[in-house]
């Protein structure tokens, strides 16, 4: 199987704190990969690096898409080196990414995410949240909009159709016109996943999607994650503290502690790994 993502000796520091150190792992295309670890281990930080919100101080992240490899760190803009001043092509490329690069470009590659603290557009309706997610692929010509041309109408209709489809998939059709901020917590979680999917993501990163959900709701969620993979062709990365969910959905688990990968393997391997038991699960 191909790897859609390769992370190679990633390192991040905040002031004196080394949040990530030499983190390396791969994510296989079409898999569900879970990242677990104690609080403050650096899981969210890994996601932030993958999606371009933090710039790693060292290491490489490579995203493989249709035989093309993109380096996230290049998209985020790199400092100029002496060599760039002799090589106009690399200079131009760096300048371009310095000026226009950033996390939105990473998202445009097909990596999207949800957040540990839900970040929906609370004062917009559920369906509007999904329309915003499709912004990139819509007809944005202001004149076309002003004269309501055929192509503009088509583009809007297409977007609404897609949004409705996703609302149906996550079971929120009834809530389409409600404000996102008013929805119960569990619904918000699902809406955020649908929103991330509406960007045509190839890799979706879910940060603690089951937090605040009760037992039954967690079950529904794990169903949804499996369906995302099988029916919608995306690769899923998930951070979660709820072990029942992790064990159920994931193919591969990576365990972080203090910014280091301390274990990796299949759910059964991890469940029985003494290091993980001690550091994370707290079972003797």
């Amino acid at each position: 199987m191909d790897d859609i993502l390769k992370v190679d000796s990633l390192g991040v520091s905040f002031g004196g704190i080394r949040a990530l150190d030499q983190v390396s792992f791969e994510v296989a295309k079409g898999s569900v990969t879970a990242i677990i670890g104690p609080n403050g281990a650096g899981k969210t930080t890994v996601f932030n690096c993958l999606t371009g919100f933090y710039k790693a101080s060292d290491g490489r992240i490579q995203f493989q898409d249709k035989n093309r490899t993109h380096s996230i760190e290049i998209i985020l803009g790199q400092p100029f080196t002496l060599q760039d001043f002799v090589n106009p092509i690399s200079f131009g490329r760096k300048l371009f990414y310095k000026m226009f690069g950033g996390s939105h470009q990473v998202a445009a590659l097909g990596i999207s995410r949800t957040f540990q603290n839900i970040r929906l557009f609370k004062d917009m309706t559920a369906i509007e949240n999904l329309l915003v997610a499709q912004h990139r692929s819509l007809n944005k010509n202001i004149l076309a909009n002003l004269f309501n041309t055929r192509s503009f109408r088509d583009s809007e209709a297409q977007a609404i159709k897609k949004a409705k489809e996703w609302l149906a998939i996550v079971g929120l059709t009834a809530d389409a016109d409600r404000l996102a901020g008013e929805l119960p917590y569990g619904h918000q979680r699902r809406l955020e996943i649908a929103r991330a999917m509406c960007t045509d993501a190839k890799l979706i990163c879910l940060d603690e999607p089951a937090a605040g959900l009760n037992h039954n709701e967690t079950k529904d969620l794990s169903n949804l994650i499996s369906r995302l993979r099988t029916n919608h062709n995306v690769t899923v990365c998930v951070i979660e503290h709820d072990m029942s969910l992790v064990m159920e959905v994931s193919d591969h688990i990576i365990v972080l502690d203090h910014g280091n990968v301390i274990a990796r393997g299949t759910p059964t391997e991890i469940r029985n790994n003494p290091v993980v038991l001690k550091a994370y699960l707290g079972e003797e």
Binding site: T44, N48, F53, Y54, F115
Partner: protein, 305 residues
């Protein structure tokens, strides 16, 4: 250009800067605590200038002319009445708006500042007002021809503004009142849940801000002598600029911002051209904020994703 001229221009800039700093400190105080641009702060300063002159006139009428006593009494009176203004304004125009969108109190503040300006104009008349020159002397260094000079009032202004800033920094940073203020600013609901009477905190912030405005009003009025009901607006904008330049909510920042603003304005007009001094000051601000989007001493808003 000789050294004395350069030195004198530096002093001039510092004096101007300390007037901005004095007002900016009160400004940033309110601003840092309730996160609202209190456009009426400049007007409170303007009121305090009037109160200074009124107190002085009343004292003269009563026959109190010994200068130290006069100054103390004027200061006392100005502070009392100005802080009542601050208190009342907060209760009337801002308290009812608590919890609504950020811009609502901003508009209310603009309305309030129109009210105060015109209220003073209607009751005191539109003409320019002034106080007599109470303290004349100055410190002069140098020869008959070439010298540096700073008047006692100017010196007082610089000293007081630094003292006030230091005192306020201490209050905010080290006392429990200060901690309660910061808590109120960051999460008002949670502050209440921890037992903080946020309404009182906000009122006391306004009162402290007004006291600062009163001190500023007194010193600046004594220094320049002349004022009208319109001075508040300009002072407000400059103080706001200084506060932002220094980093919103940072008291030393406000002082520093004021000094930098005053210095750059003063030096530009002293050595280049006074027509464009404000253009220069604002351009400086813009350029500066591009490179340091959270001001000189303001800590960058880190938002954890």
């Amino acid at each position: 250009m000789d050294l004395y001229t350069i030195g004198q221009q530096l002093i001039n800039g510092l004096v101007l800067g300390s007037t901005y700093g004095l007002i900016a400190v009160g400004y940033t105080m309110v601003y840092g605590i309730i996160g609202m641009i209190n456009f009426a702060h400049g007007e409170i300063y303007m009121i305090s200038a009037y109160l200074t002159a009124i107190c002085l006139a009343v004292l003269t009428w009563m026959g109190i002319t010994w200068i130290p006593i006069t100054i103390l009494l004027v200061l006392f009176g100005t502070i009392i009445f100005t802080s009542i203004y601050g208190f009342v304004i907060e209760r009337v125009a801002y308290k009812p708006l608590r919890g609504s969108s950020r811009l609502t109190p901003l508009i209310s503040a603009i309305g309030m500042s129109l009210i105060l300006q015109n209220y003073v104009m209607v009751s005191q008349g539109a003409r320019n007002q002034a106080v007599p020159t109470l303290i004349e002397g100055a410190i002069t260094i140098g020869s008959e021809q070439h010298y540096l000079r700073i008047t006692y009032v100017q010196l007082g202004m610089i000293v007081v503004s630094f003292l006030a800033m230091a005192l306020l920094t201490f209050i905010i940073g080290k006392t429990s009142l200060g901690r309660a203020c910061r808590a109120t600013q960051q999460d008002m609901m949670m502050a209440r849940l921890l037992g903080i009477n946020t309404d009182n905190i906000i009122s006391s912030v306004f009162v402290i801000g007004s006291i600062m405005a009163a001190i500023a009003g007194l010193l600046i009025t004594f220094n320049y002598g002349s004022f009208d009901f319109y001075i508040g607006f300009k002072a407000g904008v400059k103080a706001f600029t200084a506060a932002v330049l220094g980093g919103i909510g940072s008291l030393p920042g406000a002082m520093l911002g004021g000094i930098i603003l005053g210095m750059s304005e003063g030096l530009f007009s002293g050595f280049v051209n006074s027509d464009y001094k404000d253009v220069f000051a604002f351009s400086l601000l813009v350029v500066f904020l591009i490179f340091r989007p959270s001001g000189l001493l303001g800590r960058p808003e880190v938002e954890k994703v």
